[in-house]
């Protein structure tokens, strides 16, 4: 049970990060990646299985949001920000 949970959590984490990379907007992309990383890091020591279940459901819901919004962001993409240019940070 614990082993499959761990695998499940890692799978979700990787999926979330992968979907977040698809955002074309610099703001959304960097915020999503940072937030996901920090949220998983913050909750890594939780032992209560109910709480874990709740957090996993929240993560799954957020994954769906990111998938949908990533697609929309792509449809309405615009030029890159000046700081995304190579040589400008």
């Amino acid at each position: 049970m614990a082993a499959s949970s761990r695998a499940q959590v890692l799978r979700l984490y990787r999926a979330l990060l992968r979907e977040s990379q698809r955002f074309s907007s610099y703001n959304y992309r960097t915020y999503a990646i940072r937030r996901i990383r920090d949220a998983f890091r913050e909750n890594k020591n939780i032992a209560d299985s109910e709480k874990i279940e709740e957090l996993l459901n929240k993560a799954k819901a957020n994954l769906e949001v990111i998938q949908r919004q990533g697609t929309i962001d792509h449809m309405y993409a615009t030029e890159k920000l000046i700081i995304e240019r190579p040589g400008n940070t």
């Binding site: 703001n27 030029e79 890159k80 000046i82």
Partner: protein, 386 residues
């Protein structure tokens, strides 16, 4: 526009296509492919003016812009019921953010309308007995303009001055009360320099004098914890597009116990407790609700992040740029990053070269630069991004 061109010429660049004479270039929108060929977009630093939509907020709004398009006031069919349910859920989300009851939230078209409703509404309702209002000199234009229009109706207004730090003097506030004062209006966080007024104390003073306390919390909501009961607030204006929500929606909190009475500005079908008639825009209300919920969940995390970034920005500028003065109180402010930092830099003609170098870096950051005689006052409003 001319200034941009001159400064761009200094850098040796051609002015971007959109700024050249000869009509507007192709605008933004779908179909405009970002092939990297167009001019790069500037970094957005004017977060005090408006914020981008959070993807979670847009996600919650889309169903109500596409499938669930019913009028929430249609009582007789499922389209109406589902819209109404969404609107009420949004109302509860807004109420939860400020510690209020959902029946105390009225949806409006923005903080400007909320401010107008609060100030003119309360003043006119109690005008038979109370004709005095207290506000500050640094309020938002809509508050000052509402007060000015009330003056033409026969009210008298006290505009309290602010100290050098931007905060009001509580003793002056106490002294300004008169037996016929009906309302005190002080904004929570200033939109120009980011100072946080002592709302707790002002609330106590107003409660003691039995005068209604209105606060324009547009910049404070979702960024610092607000509780209308702890802070003894009777009316509060909320703006959607300052908290990563949609533009065109806001809310007004109107206390029910003890009841605050308002004369409605907008007449019509009696929606929103009769205080603001008109169909509530369900997608916008849902967006505002979602923005409030996200803000509540992320408040602590965002505050930590913003404080780090603000610290870095202020320290670097104050230490490396000579002759800089930061406007506003150092301690009682919202970590300056989400608000405008106003610096005054004495600039003499001889230092133009230096200024040119600094400016070329800053120009890429979409700063607004205004020349005031020999002083450059750089308005730098910092970003939510990164």
């Amino acid at each position: 526009m001319l200034l941009w061109r001159r400064l761009a010429a200094l850098r040796g660049e051609r002015t971007p296509r959109r700024l050249r004479a000869g009509g507007p270039g192709p605008g933004p929108g779908p179909g405009r492919k970002s092939d990297g060929g167009g001019a790069p977009r500037p970094l957005y630093m004017d977060v005090q003016a408006t914020t981008p939509l959070d993807p979670r907020v847009l996600d919650s709004m889309l169903p109500y812009l596409t499938a669930y398009y019913g009028n929430p006031h249609s009582r007789t069919h499922a389209y109406g019921w589902e819209s109404e349910a969404a609107m009420e859920k949004a109302r509860q989300q807004v109420a939860d953010l400020i510690g209020a009851d959902s029946r105390e939230i009225i949806f409006t078209s923005g903080a400007t309308e909320s401010n107008n409703m609060a100030i003119k509404g309360v003043a006119r309702f109690y005008k038979s007995r109370k004709k005095h209002i207290i506000t500050t000199q640094t309020e938002h234009k809509c508050v000052l303009d509402s007060c000015r229009s009330l003056e033409t109706e026969g009210f008298h207004i006290t505009y309290l001055p602010v100290k050098k730090s931007g905060l009001i003097d509580l003793k002056e506030l106490e002294a300004a009360f008169q037996p016929d004062t009906s309302l005190v209006s002080v904004m929570t966080v200033n939109n120009e320099i980011g100072v946080k007024q002592p709302i707790h104390d002002i609330g106590e003073i107003c409660r003691a004098h039995k005068v209604f306390f209105h606060t324009d919390a547009a910049q404070a909501i979702g960024k610092i914890p607000m509780d209308v009961n702890n802070m003894k607030i009777d009316l509060m204006s909320i703006s959607g597009h300052k908290i990563y929500g949609p533009k065109g929606v806001g809310a007004l909190y109107v206390r029910r116990r003890p009841r605050v009475r308002l004369e409605p500005l907008q007449s019509g079908g009696g929606q929103e407790r009769g205080l603001r008639s008109g169909t509530v825009p369900t997608p916008l209300a849902v967006g505002l609700g979602a923005a409030c919920e996200v803000a509540q969940q992320e408040m602590e995390y965002d505050h930590k992040r913003i404080s780090q970034l603000a610290e870095r920005l202020v320290t670097k500028i104050m230490s490396e740029v000579p002759d800089v003065v930061m406007n506003g109180d150092q301690e009682h402010r919202y970590p300056v990053l989400a608000h405008q930092l106003l610096w005054s830099l004495p600039m003499f003609c001889g230092q133009l070269e230096q200024m040119k170098t600094w400016l070329t870096h800053l120009l890429d950051l979409a700063l607004v630069v205004s020349l005031q005689k020999k002083k450059w006052i750089i308005q730098c409003r910092s970003a939510y991004s990164t």
